[in-house]
């Protein structure tokens, strides 16, 4: 699964993009974030406050409970600030 990070989330994670093997039991975005937080202190720090995080699944805005599957492109980022 491809995951993209933008803005300060990208900086805190330390990468703009990564490809992960999704564990079987992760079915939605919230589950993905919980799993990412187990990957180290950087992730834990980056995803401490999920209210500050927005999500897109396959380039469409989605909620934390949106279902995800292998092959999806998941993007995690702070609220957009306009042009």
């Amino acid at each position: 699964m491809k995951i993209l990070y933008f803005a300060w989330l990208r900086q805190r994670v330390g990468a703009g993009e990564e490809t992960v093997d999704l564990p079987e039991d992760v079915r939605n975005v919230a589950g993905l974030i919980d799993w990412l937080k187990t990957r180290g202190p950087k992730y834990e720090e980056a995803f401490r406050d999920t209210s500050a995080i927005r999500v897109a699944v396959n380039q469409e805005f989605a909620n934390l409970d949106a279902a995800i599957a292998t092959g999806d492109e998941i993007a995690l980022f702070p609220p957009m600030t306009g042009g």
Partner: protein
């Protein structure tokens, strides 16, 4: 009709000419060009960097352009938004709308720039004397864009 997200600068005269040259059905062309200001939130800024989500940005800009074309009788539209590092005075965004009628051109141009300034999928990193800082979404801009969501009001004049 056309959405471009690019690092490069743009030539406003050439862009308008490309939309209007040889056409005799267009009565009015409304344009809004945004420039980087040297002040943001009361603080001097040295530069700012716009980050975006390639692919999704174009999709969202194309969507709002399609909505403008559905709401107003437009003959031509163009949105150009730059990303990357920009200095004060640099051009950052261009909206051009052309119609037989000036009200449709002006209202749709305002609709598009309100959306772009508030909801376009960009993140801004500002450089000040104190370092760099990611900009948070602004409340007042959300109001400007939100008024277009209301079922009645000036936004619907052209359709009445």
């Amino acid at each position: 009709m056309s959405v471009r997200v690019q690092r490069e600068d743009f030539d406003i005269g050439a862009e308008i000419a490309a939309l209007t040259d040889g056409r005799t059905d267009i009565g009015g062309v409304a344009t809004f060009m945004g420039l980087v200001r040297d002040v943001a939130g009361g603080e001097k800024i040295a530069a700012m960097t716009l980050e975006h989500y390639p692919g999704m940005t174009e999709k969202m800009l194309g969507g709002i352009e399609a909505e403008a074309r559905a709401r107003w009788p437009l003959d031509a539209t163009l949105i150009i938004h730059r990303y990357g590092r920009l200095a004060p005075g640099d051009r950052i965004v261009l909206v051009v709308t052309a119609s037989a009628h000036r009200t449709a051109a002006i209202e749709s141009c305002e609709f598009l720039i309100d959306w772009l300034k508030t909801r376009a999928p960009f993140w801004k990193l500002e450089e000040t004397g104190a370092g760099t800082q990611w900009v948070a979404a602004r409340e007042s801009d959300d109001h400007a864009a939100a008024r277009w969501d209301e079922p009645s009001g000036s936004a619907n004049k052209a359709a009445e």
